[in-house]
């Protein structure tokens, strides 16, 4: 069943390993993706070694700064293999990772899956 907030949505995957990133930058990408698809519904699927809902700590700013779009956050799994399984046969999903050196990024690169690295806040005060 598709919820009304998921209908005609822009779907994106985010890998959260716990690295602090510029969530504003991620949010801009999500808005751009939604605008290109002429929708105000965003579905963000999370893959993270962090258990649910602990990964939300790294999305809090993004969630609280969003007031204009419907945002559905759903947990997909904890391993790169689960992510690959989800992406199989799905062409219109943007993939974002918070750490270009993570095992997730390695596997995605090896499998030829396009992804974007969210700029890090490492070394900067949040």
């Amino acid at each position: 069943m598709t919820l009304v907030v998921e209908r005609n949505a822009y779907h994106a995957v985010l890998v959260v390993t716990g690295k602090k990133v510029r969530t504003g930058s991620l949010y801009n990408r999500l808005l751009r993706g939604a605008t290109l698809r002429r929708t105000r519904n965003i579905v963000l699927r999370i893959y993270s070694p962090l258990p649910r809902p602990k990964y939300i700590e790294f999305l809090r700013d993004l969630i609280q700064n969003n007031i204009s779009h419907a945002l559905t956050v759903t947990y997909g799994g904890s391993s790169p293999e689960e992510l690959l399984l989800y992406l199989r046969g799905r062409n219109d999903i943007d993939v974002y990772v918070d750490d270009g050196k993570s095992s997730f990024a390695e596997v995605l690169a090896r499998e030829g899956v396009k992804y974007e690295i969210i700029p890090s806040l490492e070394g900067e005060e949040r």
């Binding site: 649910r52 969630i63 204009s68 419907a70 947990y75």
Partner: protein, 522 residues
């Protein structure tokens, strides 16, 4: 246990599942810790239990929960609001447990402020945490019941991730839920994976036709007359939603539901009652007179307003005599007074222009202090008693802004009202209240807080005895409240010399902290 219980159970904790002795302002005591009186007495004043039927269904329930219940019932689900003490009756049948709240963890105002000032957790937080830790919730989760939480305070779960995990909450829903809730519940019943978090965007807000009529009575007869607000104040999320006016017929149907349950009064709910079918931000007399005449004819009890804006009050009276007509003609025989919440927010024109440039509309923001004072005078003359709020500690605030607010407070002294300061507490600071008290609280803030305390104490006795709680059956509540007030007055008089030292710069709030004193224990 019966198998004929409900599969969808909607509930909340005691501080919300109460009609507060029929006096909703008493519910605000649930936002503070028990001070000066025993905890059990504080809870009895703030949130007494209500009668329930044989299934544990309360006679009255929070309006937001009634909307969720109504939507689910209309869509064919076996759903009901159940009192928190009676969830056990439905443990066998329950598949989905839905929990709503105005302030789950006391991070909203005024709870966070009382927490900061007293150093003690407010009772609403204590009560909710105790409820979620109760055996029945644990058993429900062990049984595989899906837990969905939501309401105006949904955002607070983002800051309580450990508890979210510990209690096994499946989904947090933030926003107007009518178009989402049935689909989500169906997914839960079908055993499908559920999203962790849903924010319902303004474009997903329900149309008038999609807003259901409540099936059971709301606390103290609250019914909404409209949703949304056109003013655009920075600190308010409601203004983002589309403006919708509920038809009179819909409003009267909901009042009928309340009357059938024995709730004799009504609270007309809106962010600004006077903007019902307004011309932008200018109140129009005809819809308001029609609304009040129809409601007054129907309800045997009192009418109250949830909120009204000071600018609309001033405009309504000066241009159309709306206030004096409603109070003097329409409601004159019915009631001595009308209660309402209003927002002063600030006495500084500079700050008003930054955070709420449309709050004074149709008057220019430069006139804001005058708008406040004129509106208070109009309300006083027409027996409207406001509970007013102001906001301290906004990021853009300067010491001079706070001084302007203090000056405005002095001018408001002659007008019957309660005034409560709300502290803008950044979320990060809530995790370290001591740090916040030491670094953010300034002498000007303390001056304003003392002024509001003295103002409200001055008028509170009059309001308790002669206006709000004068019914004979409320004598025990009056007594308990007067006891509490006497404790507060004593502490306030002890605090005055200390506060004056702070204001005169002889001692700083930080130095007081070092001595281990809080504003209340000093």
């Amino acid at each position: 246990m019966s198998d004929s219980g409900y599969e969808i159970v909607i509930t909340t904790d005691r501080t919300m599942m109460s009609n507060h002795h029929g006096k909703e302002f008493l519910g605000f005591m649930a936002t503070g810790p028990a001070i000066g009186v025993p905890h059990w007495l504080w809870m009895w004043i703030a949130a007494p239990k209500m009668k329930v039927d044989s299934e544990g269904k309360p006679v009255q329930a929070p309006y937001g929960l009634r909307k969720v219940e109504a939507k689910l019932i209309d869509d064919g689900f076996r759903a009901a609001i159940i009192d928190p003490d009676h969830l056990g009756k439905h443990l066998n049948s329950m598949k989905v447990l839905m929990i709503g709240h105005h302030d789950f963890f006391a991070y909203g105002p005024p709870s966070s402020e009382w927490w900061m000032v007293t150093g003690k957790e407010p009772v609403n937080r204590e009560s909710f945490i105790k409820f979620m830790n109760s055996p029945i919730i644990k058993k429900a989760k062990e049984k595989g019941v899906r837990i969905i939480v939501g309401g105006p305070a949904a955002w607070q779960w983002l800051w309580e991730l450990d508890r979210w995990k510990e209690w096994g909450v499946d989904t947090v829903v933030d926003g107007e839920a009518e178009r989402v809730i049935s689909g989500l519940v169906q997914k839960a019943l079908d055993g499908e994976p559920l999203p962790d978090y849903i924010y319902v965007g303004p474009h997903n807000s329900p149309s008038i036709d999609e807003i259901p009529v409540i099936k059971g009575a709301s606390v103290n007869g609250l019914v909404e007359i409209m949703r949304g607000c056109p003013r655009g104040c920075k600190f308010c999320s409601v203004t983002l939603r589309p403006l919708r006016f509920l038809p009179l017929d819909h409003i009267l149907q909901e009042i009928d539901v309340n009357l059938r349950a024995g709730v004799k009064g009504v609270i007309l709910h809106s962010e600004d009652v006077l903007l019902y079918h307004a011309d932008g931000v200018k109140p129009r007399p005809e819809p308001l007179f029609k609304l009040h005449e129809a409601v007054a004819k129907k309800v045997p009890g009192h009418i109250a307003w949830a909120h009204a804006s000071l600018a609309a009050i001033k405009y309504a009276e000066e241009n159309h005599k709306i206030i004096s007509k409603i109070m003097g003609d329409i409601l004159h025989e019915k009631q001595d007074f009308l209660g309402v919440e209003v927002g002063i927010e600030t006495g500084s024109v500079r700050l008003a222009k930054i955070i709420m440039p449309a709050k004074s509309a149709p008057y220019p923001p430069e006139k804001w202090p005058e708008v406040v004072e004129d509106a208070f005078a109009i309300m006083h003359e027409n027996r409207i008693v406001p509970a007013a709020t102001l906001i301290l500690g906004l990021p853009e605030e300067t010491p001079d802004d706070v001084v302007k607010t203090a000056e405005l407070l002095d001018r408001l002294r002659p007008y019957r009202s309660l005034i409560v300061p709300m502290f803008f507490v950044p979320m990060g600071a809530l995790k370290n209240m001591d740090w916040f008290r030491r670094t953010a609280l300034r002498p000007e803030h303390i001056d304003v807080m003392m002024k509001t305390l003295e103002h409200s104490l001055y008028w509170a006795e009059d309001l308790i005895s002669n206006v709000y709680l004068k019914e004979a059956h409320l004598a025990p509540v009056r007594f308990a409240l007067k006891l509490f007030l006497s404790v507060v007055k004593k502490k306030a008089s002890k605090l005055r010399p200390l506060v004056e030292s702070i204001i005169e710069g002889k001692i700083s709030p930080a130095e007081i902290e070092k001595k281990g004193e809080t504003a209340v224990t000093a």
